[in-house]
Amino acid sequence: MSIANQPLLKLENITKRFKELTAVNGVNLEVSPGEKLVIIGPSGSGKSTLLRAINLLEEIEEGTICFEGREVGYVMRSGKRHPDRPQAISALRAEIGMVFQHFHLFPHMTVLGNVMEGPLTVQRKSAEEARSIAVDILEKVGLADKRDVFPATLSGGQKQRVAIARALAMRPKLMLFDEPTSALDPELVGEVFDTIHTLADEGMTMIIVTHHMGFARELADRVIFMESGNFLAQGTPDELFSIAQDNERIRGFLNRLL
């Protein structure tokens, strides 16, 4: 298999249980470099948990995660799974950007400070270098004029764009979006959608968990419908919509959204 065809991310048999509840039930997934994958499905179907498992924010009970062909996150010691060393886990997270539903900007840092933080603290770049990276990226998300204000003064859409910029400053190979527009007022969804769209056009590999069908229709190479911890259906947007004609559950879900 050539490097080009090698999947960036490969999940095998991912299983996550919360006590009695199985949130993710033996899921397999391959994501190629440059692919835009959208995961939809009702609340509690395990979409967010799967995304968080990829970033190792959620510890899984079974399965393997391969990133760039390396198995990551867990080691076998005397026949039992253990989380990998903290340094190894941090190193993986540094290569995967994550954007949260509720932004989670650092409120005590300015916009510029938020975006500089990764390069400065994690990559240990000099202050000038981190600053110039941050300034460039803020320019790209259209918030260059907001760089010296604190997040409390921003609108929800602006906050989410800063959060995207913060993740991008680490030059990630994969971006994970966990319902990036769900906490926004409807009129603010557009600016965040446009920012993600621009990123997609530049060839960023991304997995987006969303209820916003615009992502699925306009942006996705592949859409996965997830329910009760399983992938119920997947395909290109057109394929999924045609599958939906025959599948009552998917049709019902899409009708509620549209």
Binding site: A94, E95, H102, L105, F106, V122, A152, T153, A167, M170
Partner: protein
């Protein structure tokens, strides 16, 4: 014949006694007793008349009864609020004995009474202020040292408490349990008087800082732990998601956000600390409380205690303002 001689001897003896009386070599005890009896009956003027009978001694004569009588007269005059006569009584003594400290102090006290009230307070203040200021400086030193030590100790205890390592969190739980559960006074006694029996002898200042530091670290530990755990869990996740380690996330993201929440309760603790330093007066430290106590016991003057109260109030007021300023600065990012 023998009878006549003995009679004459007795008469001679009587005459000698009489003469002796007239010459001043009298036993004054009876006179003082009589004057005391009259005072007890409320006849102060009668007592004064008796006391005035004690003559001014000639050079080389026993002066004790004279001094006693004039000082007693001065006290009676003072009790009658006849301050001028009281001073005159003392002056009689001072003419003969300019160094008599009893008369001099009494004149000074009487002259003070003639001055207006504020003047007395002012002169007392000026008299007491130097030693109170020295005590206040020591109190301030103790407060500043404890303020430096206890937040660091508190942070360590807080991080230990939320640690997933059982022995660490257990130890920190024990420290908090012990130092919050026993009186500070007892802890100070143990460190200063108890440790020497284990071969550890500490100077009072060191013992005081260790005692106050440990006690306040325990309290601040719980406050800091609460503040850390009150920060939205998403902050830790966001920090981890950009690749930060636990300690980087704590240092750069979580702990800086606790400052604003910490200031009101920590300010509260530090105000209590300023007053708790008074307890170290029991382990041979001369700080503000001890200085005031010493002055009070020497001069029996309530002004010393009132001044100490004022100084404590000044200290707590200054620190209250400082804490409010810091709290505002720490939360400036929340202002729109």
């Amino acid at each position: 014949m023998i009878y006549l001689v003995s009679r004459a001897f007795v008469a001679l003896l009587f005459l000698c006694t009489l003469a002796g009386n007239c010459l001043g070599a009298v036993d004054y005890d009876q006179l003082f007793r009589q004057s005391s009896d009259l005072m007890a009956l409320g006849d102060l003027d009668g007592a004064l008349t008796l006391l005035r009978q004690v003559p001014t001694p000639a050079a080389g004569e026993e002066a004790g009864p004279f001094v006693s009588s004039r000082m007693q007269a001065a006290r009676i005059h003072a009790a009658q609020e006849n301050t001028d006569s009281a001073i005159a009584d003392c002056q009689e003594v001072l003419i003969l004995f300019p160094d008599n400290s009893e008369a001099r102090n009494f004149v000074a006290a009487l002259r003070d009474q003639l001055k207006p009230g504020w003047h007395t307070v002012l002169s007392d203040t000026l008299r007491f202020l130097p030693s109170l200021a020295k005590g206040a400086l020591m109190t301030l030193m103790l407060v500043l040292c404890t303020m430096l030590v206890s937040p660091l100790g508190g942070l360590l205890i807080a991080l230990g408490r939320i640690s997933t390592l059982r022995p660490v969190s257990g130890t920190c739980w024990f420290i908090i349990w012990f130092f919050r559960g026993t009186p500070l006074l007892l802890q100070l006694f143990f460190i200063y008087y108890g440790l020497p029996s284990l071969g550890i002898t500490l100077p009072p200042f060191t013992a005081a800082v260790i005692g106050l530091g440990l006690n306040y670290s325990a309290y601040l530990g719980e406050i800091i732990r609460g503040a850390i755990q009150s920060i939205d869990h998403g902050q830790m996740e966001a920090a981890k998601a950009i690749g930060m380690s636990y300690s980087q996330a704590m240092r750069r993201v979580i702990i800086p956000q606790t400052y604003k929440r910490l200031m009101p309760p920590i300010g509260n603790e530090f105000i209590a600390l300023i007053k708790d330093t008074a307890l170290v007066s029991t382990i041979a430290m001369v700080e503000l409380m001890r200085s005031a106590d010493q002055l009070f016991n020497t001069y029996f003057n309530i002004t010393a205690l009132a001044l100490a109260a004022v100084i404590y109030l000044v200290l707590t007021t200054i620190f209250t303002f400082i804490f409010e300023k810091i709290e505002y600065r720490a939360g400036i990012y929340e202002h729109r």
